[in-house]
Structures are given as structure tokens and as C-alpha cells.
């Protein structure tokens, strides 16, 4: 039997402009506790698509949610003021959360952007490479730092970026959602670095296209659970990041997937 943490469940934080904030917070807390109790990993994105949302660290603090060691991963991108950015890292460490996914992220006019001089370096534009370097320098040994890999980008460019991220000290890689399979996965696994494969759990593939920036249109209707099964069969050594998981219909079948019965 695979260990439960094989699944890292993405839980989207409430957007700042949500009509009923208290109801949205309750839903967030319920999903969080449900995933935590089941022993899965929890991943909380940071302002996805540049939409203003609450950061995972303030949600955990404000809602007094438990932060079980090794089970929670917070995303952190470059669209923060320096004081907020540093404060998020400090508070994440204070909560005992030891996993951060450093990403460049999606910006918007409403979000500030870290500058090189904020981090004490001479670069114009800060990317996840500089985030990893900063975290390694300022919080040595505190966090396991992951980075993203987008197989939909031109391979040479993306690979060069990945090498810089790993050289900066990244310890694991989370892919963008994989549909069925992708030739880059074998190359990633050959690196000998932990790879977390993202599985897109929504049937709405146009949202995925928005996320990765490229049109993704499979030939047959998309079956998210079938896709996850296929990926787990092909890459049993990997953990899986479940994006947009349905808590009512999909969450209950996850134990079955882990028990291999669904993989045969």
C-alpha cells in the first residue's frame, strides 16, 4: 500500500472579493481538516492567475488550523512586497510548516512585485530562482523548497530554467498538470530529484489551458480520475498534486486509488 501522502491536495484559498467571506473560510477549513485527517498532503496556491486571494499562512493562523509536520506545503510567488514576502516565510517557519513551493507566479496590477534590490541582488526581474536562493540564504535548513516545471513551454528554455532552480537549491519539482503522459517526465525522473506530478482533476480543460498558457485539447472527452489512474500506473514512484479536486465526488475515491485496486 502506498503511503497516504502520495496525494497532495490543492486547496484554493478564498478570494478577497468573495461575497460571503465567512462561508468561504468555513469551506476552506473543512476541506483542510478533511485532507489533513486523511493523511494527505495539502498545498495552498498563492494568488493563482493573479487574482487577489488570502495567503495560506494567514488562513492557517487566523483559522487556528493545525499544521501537521510534513503535511502542508505553501506556494510562494514573486508578487509580494518584500516585507510581506519575508513575513510569510517567517510565519510559515513559526507554524512549523517546512515545505514551500517557490514559483514566479501570476501578477496583476493590484499585486506588488519583488525587486532584485529587495533581495539584495543585482537583477532586474526576480524569478523563482532568486526566491530559492533567498530562502536558502535567509532560512538555512528550515524549508524543503520545491520548484515548478512547465512541460508545455519550449523544452530547451524550460530545462535551462530548471537547472538554475536546482542549482539554487531546489529539492523537488512539481510539474504542471500532465494529461495522459508527457515525454519530459522520463527526463525529469532521470535527474534523481523528487518529482511530484500534477493531475488536473477538473473536467474543464479550458481552465487548464489558461493555467499553462497553451491550448490543451485532447482527442477524447477528459476523464480526470482515469487520467490519475493512468499516471499512477506509469509513475508509481511519484507523489501526485491534485489540482481542483472535487471534495464531494472525487475525495472519497482516493483511498481506493491508493490501495492499488483501481490501478489494475
Amino acid at each position: 500500500m502506498r503511503r497516504p501522502k502520495t496525494f497532495n491536495i490543492e486547496i484554493l484559498s478564498p478570494k478577497q472579493n468573495v461575497d460571503d467571506l465567512e462561508a468561504a473560510l468555513r469551506v476552506f477549513a473543512e476541506k483542510y481538516e478533511q485532507a489533513l485527517t486523511a493523511g494527505y498532503g495539502i498545498c495552498i496556491p498563492d494568488n493563482p492567475l493573479g487574482k487577489l486571494a488570502f495567503h495560506g499562512v494567514e488562513l492557517i493562523e487566523e483559522l487556528s488550523l493545525p499544521a501537521a509536520e510534513g503535511q502542508v506545503s505553501l506556494h510562494l510567488n514573486t508578487f509580494h512586497s518584500f516585507s510581506d514576502f519575508h513575513s510569510i516565510l517567517q510565519r510559515t517557519a513559526n507554524l512549523g510548516i517546512d515545505d514551500v513551493l517557490a514559483i514566479s507566479g501570476d501578477g496583476s496590477q493590484r499585486l506588488p512585485k519583488l525587486r532584485g534590490r529587495d533581495l539584495g541582488i543585482e537583477v532586474e526581474s526576480v524569478t523563482s530562482v532568486e526566491l530559492v536562493e533567498y530562502i536558502r540564504r535567509e532560512f538555512p535548513g528550515v524549508f524543503k523548497v520545491g520548484v515548478a516545471y512547465n512541460p508545455y513551454e519550449p523544452e530547451a528554455d524550460e530545462w535551462e530554467k530548471l537547472e538554475r532552480k536546482l542549482a539554487a537549491g531546489a529539492e523537488y519539482i512539481t510539474t504542471q498538470p500532465i494529461i495522459d503522459d508527457h515525454p519530459h517526465l522520463t527526463r525529469l525522473l532521470d535527474l534523481g530529484v523528487e518529482v511530484v506530478i500534477e493531475a488536473w482533476m477538473s473536467k474543464k480543460l479550458h481552465l487548464l489551458s489558461d493555467c499553462v498558457g497553451y491550448e490543451i485539447s485532447p482527442e477524447k472527452p477528459y476523464d480526470p480520475v482515469g487520467n490519475l489512474r493512468t499516471l499512477m500506473k506509469r509513475y508509481p514512484q511519484c507523489d501526485y498534486y491534485l489540482a481542483i479536486l472535487g471534495f464531494k465526488t472525487q475525495f472519497p475515491i482516493l483511498p481506493g486509488l491508493l490501495n492499488n485496486e483501481a490501478l489494475t
Binding site: 467571506l21 465567512e22 487577489l52 488570502f54 494567514e58 487566523e62 512586497s81 510581506d84 493590484r110
Partner: protein, 262 residues
């Protein structure tokens, strides 16, 4: 220092439709939020308060739903919110709106500084801020992109001009309209958002403001919109940057900077 920031709820979409009969924007069913320029005015008010002390009060004229915009400002850190709302205010043009806001500022009492966004992105007139200053007979500066210095009696600012900028010192009380280069508005925290949503707002109607019937709504609005038409669509174009990768990257950077995109 008593600072009042005037904010407006606007549609947050790229395309809005116009009612052919009233020639006004259709706002129903459209996601709305604080006018982007007003965010910078709120932020500057908060920064001045943090430097020299005082209170920041946010005012907005609009329907009940504009309360959400005031709460956005409270979530950023404003101390107090006042909604100016009355069916009689409907249809007010920039002159009538600035009159209503002026009445509210006078009713509020001691005010040292009024901050407004340069313009609202729905009407794009840039008239309300200067209109308030005219009604109050206060000095004002439009398009402020830097507040150099401020104490309880004067403020030194830089204003944007077509060919460069100028530095202006004003005796307080005064009014400023601000542009986006002024600062980077802070992102509200969850704790503040929750407090802002629970905060009590004051609601002032025409009765509290003692506005004259002929000064508000359509009756108080000399502006007549004769016709409206969408602007011609922008044509996209592809630019090929020649040279080595380094040269074209430099050219691209220059181009993006010239367009104020980075």
C-alpha cells in the same frame, strides 16, 4: 491630520455596455470594485497617517452596493467609512457628484486633506476631484505622482505634466488627485478584511447633507450626453526585433518601458 479619501465603485471589466436610452453605463450584473486610481489615494492617505498621525476617512457616493468599496478601503487600513446614498442622488453628473461630496466633507467637520484618484475608469472625466476643490474653494493639484513632504500645515508634491513634472507646495486644507506612480497599494490581510466586513458604516442621505433639490441628481446635472459610441477597436500588430538575442532583448525592454508596461 484628518484625511478624507473619496472612492468610487466601478465595473471591473474590460468591456461595459451603455444603455441606449439613458446613455449611461449598465452596471447591473457586472463585477465591481474600487476604482483603480482610488486605491493609490487610499494608500497615500494611510502612508501620511503612518508618518504624521491622524485619521483616514473614506467616503463614497453610490447605491447600497458601494458599501463593498468602502469596506475594501477599511480592509487596507482606513479608520472610518461613510456612504453617501440616496435615490435622489441617482443620475448626478460630475458637478452634482462633487457638490454632494463637498457637502459631506463640510458636514464631517475639520478636514485637512482630501485625496481622490485622478479619474474613475468608467466615466474617465477626471472632473470630480477638481470639482470638489472648486466647491470648497481649496487649493488643489491634479495628477500627483509623489508626495515629497507633508506636515500638519502644508504638503509638497510632484505633479505629472505632459512634458515632465513640477513641484508644488500647498497650504492645507487642500485636495490632491493622484496617479498610479504614487505608490504601491498594500494588499489587505485576512484579519483586516474580516474586521472591515463587520465594521459599522455611516450612511448619509440628502437629508443629513442638506443638499438642495436643484443641486443633485439629474436636476442638478448640467451635463447632457448627446451620443455615445464605442471607440474603434485597437488593431494588433507584430513587431520583429532584429539583431542578436541580447540586442533584441534590450530593444524589447526599451519598448516595454516606453509603454510603461514595466
Amino acid at each position: 491630520m484628518n484625511i478624507v479619501v473619496c472612492v468610487k465603485q466601478v465595473p471591473l471589466v474590460g468591456e461595459v455596455s451603455i444603455d441606449p436610452d439613458t446613455k449611461r453605463l449598465r452596471r447591473e450584473g457586472v463585477e465591481s470594485g474600487m476604482n483603480p486610481f482610488d486605491l493609490y489615494a487610499v494608500e497615500e492617505g494611510l502612508r501620511i497617517r503612518e508618518r504624521i498621525g491622524g485619521r483616514v476617512t473614506v467616503m463614497s457616493m453610490g447605491p447600497g452596493s458601494a458599501e463593498k468599496t468602502i469596506r475594501e478601503a477599511l480592509a487596507m487600513g482606513a479608520d472610518h467609512g461613510i456612504l453617501l446614498s440616496d435615490p435622489a442622488f441617482a443620475g448626478s453628473d460630475t458637478w452634482a457628484t462633487s457638490y454632494i461630496l463637498t457637502k459631506a466633507i463640510r458636514r464631517f467637520g475639520q478636514v485637512d486633506l482630501v485625496l481622490c484618484g485622478k479619474q474613475a475608469v468608467d466615466g474617465d472625466t477626471a472632473q470630480v476631484g477638481p470639482g470638489i476643490a472648486a466647491h470648497l474653494d481649496w487649493p488643489h493639484v491634479a495628477c500627483v505622482f509623489e508626495a515629497v513632504n507633508c506636515d500638519n500645515s502644508r504638503i509638497l508634491v510632484k505633479r505629472m505634466q505632459e512634458t515632465g513634472h513640477s513641484e508644488v507646495e500647498l497650504q492645507l486644507p487642500a485636495l490632491l488627485t493622484v496617479v498610479k506612480d504614487l505608490n504601491q497599494p498594500r494588499v489587505p490581510t485576512l484579519k483586516r478584511c474580516r474586521a472591515a466586513r463587520a465594521a459599522q458604516l455611516e450612511i448619509w442621505s440628502s437629508r443629513e447633507l442638506a443638499t438642495t433639490e436643484g443641486g443633485i441628481g439629474l436636476a442638478g446635472s448640467p451635463t447632457r450626453v448627446v451620443t455615445t459610441a464605442p471607440p474603434p477597436p485597437r488593431s494588433g500588430r507584430t513587431v520583429c526585433l532584429a539583431g542578436t538575442a541580447q540586442e533584441s532583448a534590450r530593444a524589447l525592454l526599451q519598448e516595454l518601458r516606453m509603454r510603461s508596461m514595466i
